[in-house]
């Protein structure tokens, strides 16, 4: 079966742990299509994949509402972190909340890199900006929308010595080339929920819904919970399993 996943999920490296186990347990070969969130939803709509695993709640709910997906099942979450230059010119380290951190960046007009690609991360970032009371048209030259994937955006930020909002997995995998540092994390609004959506077989008769359901069952099982919560990079746990058994 084919599953479209977002770049950030794939970049976390978790897929490489899960896929062999799935193949073993279910005798099921899952082919991953690593694309942007928008493109993943698009592939689902067209019926070119059997299921999608993304993290953009509003878009997901619309996807189900329009009948492209049968339902939405939350699997796990990780969190976003604010990355920036070690010397921290905007003083983000001392921020009280995520909104505060962003306000400080805007106030200092410190260079900031945005994914700018309409991905889950990007949407999250925009909503954080609006929470922080910084309107989109208030962005000055310090705000760089790069329109690229997470790894590439981190690289850009590292190249420019800029702040950036990243998911923790990508950040850890990035391995910090350059002099960036994790400056702020922990605000609950930064949680990043991943959800699994099987494509609706009523819309596309050829999708392998049975396999998709089998996979869903596995993803929400105890076995998956162990694997997901046991996955660490540099000693840090990345994902928190939060699937509810139906």
């Amino acid at each position: 079966m084919k599953m479209a996943v977002t770049t950030s999920f794939h970049n976390s490296g978790l897929a490489e742990v899960l896929l062999p186990e799935i193949a073993e347990d279910l005798d099921l070969e899952v082919q991953l299509l690593v694309v942007g969130t928008g493109q993943a939803l698009k592939l689902g709509q067209a019926g070119d994949v059997d299921a999608i695993l993304v993290h953009s709640r509003a878009a997901e709910e619309a996807f189900v509402a329009e009948g492209y997906g049968t339902h939405r099942r939350e699997i796990m979450y990780n969190d976003f972190v604010v990355i920036g230059p070690q010397d921290d010119p905007a003083g983000v380290t001392d921020a009280a909340s995520a909104a505060d951190a962003l306000q400080r960046i805007a106030g200092a007009e410190a260079a900031f890199v945005s994914r700018g690609d309409d991905s889950g991360t990007h949407k999250k970032e925009l909503s954080l900006w609006s929470d922080a009371g910084v309107a989109e048209d208030g962005f000055g030259a310090w705000y760089n929308a790069v329109g690229a994937g997470m790894g590439a955006a981190l690289n850009t930020a590292s190249g420019m010595g800029a702040y950036i909002l990243s998911d923790r997995a990508s950040w850890l995998n990035f391995g910090n080339k350059g002099d960036l540092g994790l400056l702020y994390a922990g605000d609950p609004v930064l949680f990043n929920q991943y959800a699994y959506l099987p494509v609706n077989p009523d819309m596309h008769g050829h999708v392998k819904n049975d396999l998709a359901l089998k996979l869903e069952e596995w993803l929400t099982s105890v076995r998956a919970k162990e694997l997901i919560e046991g996955y660490t990079i540099g000693g840090e746990t990345l994902f928190v399993f939060n699937a509810t058994s139906e």
Binding site: G151, A152, L154, N173
Partner: protein, 234 residues
């Protein structure tokens, strides 16, 4: 610079240890690209011959168009091929999306104009030389084209190699229609894009160097093969 050295050393180790995964995607790269090249040549070379030999009203327009299509942005080609092959598209029933075949189709679309343009360029020169003779011999269009293609075969090599180069280094289109699926449609370029996306520039560069090495090997092999059958100085 660190990335560069790390890339070089990783490339070295990948190659000397004959890394199984590398071998798999490198072979897939070659297979896809060579298939695309063969198909593209079968289309482009006769087309170039026809354009050289035949005067028809829209000839100049077709040539200008071919030249322009050399600039077909791969991503757009990828999208268009995707739209056709997608389940909800007209050819969806064939189930070709996210298969090597889809990648071959996209590459063919990209390199046919390139090969045809460059080939036409050489054939035109030769045709100016042969024109009077072949017309005088009352040769059919097909025979003219075959004669030109045969006698210009060394020059056509450049055209084919340009096509090969373009195809093997191309990523935008095959990423969209192939999907970069591990063990199915992952080739060198999409693997490089993936590693770049992850920010692992060292590995990306290593794969890149392997790719360049592959391209150079193929080129030298072809040059060498075509030199052995060399007789005159054409």
């Amino acid at each position: 610079m660190v990335d560069l050295w790390s890339g070089l050393s990783q490339a070295f180790w990948l190659v000397v240890t004959l890394d199984a995964e590398l071998l798999e995607i490198a072979l897939r790269s070659l297979r896809v690209t060579l298939s695309a090249l063969v198909v593209a040549c079968l289309i482009a070379l006769p087309l170039a011959g026809l354009l050289a030999v035949r005067r028809f009203r829209l000839r100049r327009a077709v040539i200008a168009m071919l030249n322009a299509l050399m600039g077909l942005p791969p991503v757009v080609v990828g999208l268009v091929v995707y739209v056709f092959l997608s389940r909800s598209g007209p050819l969806g029933v064939l189930g070709l999306l996210f298969t090597p075949t889809a990648m071959i189709i996209a590459q063919v679309v990209i390199i046919v104009p390139l090969i045809a343009s460059i080939a036409h360029q050489s054939l035109r020169e030769l045709w100016q030389e042969y024109h009077d003779l072949l017309i005088s011999m009352n040769v059919t269009q097909g025979q003219k084209i075959r004669t030109l293609l045969w006698d210009a075969r060394r020059a056509l090599l450049t055209a084919a190699l340009a096509g090969f180069g373009r195809a093997i280094g191309e990523v935008g289109a095959i990423m969209i229609v192939g999907g970069n699926i591990d063990h199915a449609t992952r080739v060198l370029t999409t693997a490089i894009a993936l590693e770049t996306g992850k920010g692992d520039f060292g590995l990306a560069l290593a794969l890149g160097f392997v790719l360049i090495g592959l391209a150079i090997t193929v080129n030298i092999a072809i040059h060498w093969l075509s030199r052995t059958e060399r007789e005159g100085n054409w």
